[in-house]
Amino acid sequence: MASTTQGGFAARRAARSGGRDQLMGPVGMALLYTVLIGGALLTAFPFYYMLVTATHRSTTILRLPPPLWFGDALVQNYNELLANLPFWNSLFNSFAIAAIHTILVLFFCSLGGYGFAKFRFPGRNGLFAFLLATLMVPGAIGLIPSFIIMRNLGWMDSWNPLIIPGIANAFGIFWMRQYIEQAIPNDLMDAARIDGAHEFRIYWNIIVPVIVPALAALAILTFIGKWNDFFFPLLILKDEAKYTLPVALSTLRSLRGTEIGVQILGAAGAIMPILIVFIVASRQFMSGLTAGAVKGG
């Protein structure tokens, strides 16, 4: 109902009426900012607490009041973390799996999205409706059979079950279709066709360079999802050397007597790399995400 064609109009309006609303006095404004900033601080606080606690030993953490400023045990915690957990190995596994998966997702989902956006083939609507319907099917029901399939394929303790199944997924194809449909004029492809280029060449040489913003947002979403994936890796990975970070971290919770600071440092090791990437890229990412969500919603 709220169509995208109104977007430009709304933006112009918003730019014009950039002034303060007459209904909102200074007190109201102060209240709004208090709510916003208070909420943002509450949201950010656990991250801060994590960084602080990672620099303390249990003896200083288990004290009243608990420490709210950095301690000096970071190096000690780090050495102990490495003794308890193949941290860098797990980090590498997580990174490699997420990166390979993401690259494949970008390729297959943009290809599928392009297929749905710019071709009028028989059965198109039915196939697309089916694709959308699979989005509503909860993954949990297929979990046990998937595990058994992977076992029968000899894929236990392998990266394949974590990388392959989702590379052409409904969400990604839907996302790319929405973008390609309205970002690429048909003339662009027609011109290339007259020049005799075949369809894959058109996709690779003409479409891909134009859809980089949508690819970037999809890449970040996919990478984050895979990096944090827990349940399926937990079922598949049995050898500690193959663990991804979340699986490795989950074992820490069960080790009684592990230093608190060490556990929290491990958690920080899983969170910080991706949080830093997010903060650096947040402006582009958030605008890409919001634009995509509008088209998607």
Partner: protein, 316 residues
Amino acid sequence: MATQTVPIPQRKASDRRVMLKEARRNAWAYAFISPFYLLYAVFGMFPLLYGVWLSFHEWDGISPMEWIGLENYAKLLVDDIWWYSVYNTIWLFFAATVPQIIIALLLAFIINSTYIKGKDIFRAAYFAPIVASSVAVALVFTYLFGERYGLLNSIIGAVGIEPIDWLGSRNWLKPSIALVTVWQWTGYTMIIFLAGLQSINQELYEAAKVDGAQTRDIFWSITMPLMRPVILFQVILSIIGAMQTFDIPVMLAGGTQSSAPGGTDRSGLVAMINLYWTAFKYTEFGYAAAMAFLLFILIIAFSYLYNRWQGQNPTD
């Protein structure tokens, strides 16, 4: 053929050439979209059907499967622990989703107003928790929730409230799980709502103001009706997600190697924890498959009921 006049075969030939060209182009399109259908057949559809078939069997994962008909379902219907885990799941859905939707709507409205500066910073700050691994987040919150030395208890202690055993008592484990879930997901929901708000035509607001409408009237007569499909869609997605929640509950309730799944008195035992233990610790694969299928039915039922209640189609 030979007796026909020249222009007709010519046109036919060109027709055929166009058709051939179109067929070739369609073949490319089918090739482009085929990976999804191939992969879904193997890793989506097949597990789904296989799971249903499995639920009619007794199987420990190693010995031959034994067909037992509906026995797993009959057992499940009177399994108190299963229904308690379903109850916990639904409890957590309400406790985590309702506040999340309300807070997210409120924040989205504030950030969307034209006179707020620094929108980008607020959007990013609220979104940040969702990029963090749930397992790592739960690990951090485990110590924030500590009974004797946890920060949360120090804070409520400062205003004279007795310390609470957040993760160790049957009454507080679920609220703690809900709290962490709200912390992690509210920003994401807010971004979805914000996108919805930004797609509302500003002309409508202008027209309403010209007609002398109050802010409150504009909110209830324009914003909310137009936001309804977005909220509806988000709630349905929340139902699907919440019924399968696992990471945060399992970590806060003692971890994946705990001998007491779901924590004290199983108060944090959600359906997926129950399913995980049944399949992979007690190796009752058939029984767990029946749980999965029943969970699927429940998800569909709740989505349908909510949709009926709201009287609209979720795909709108």
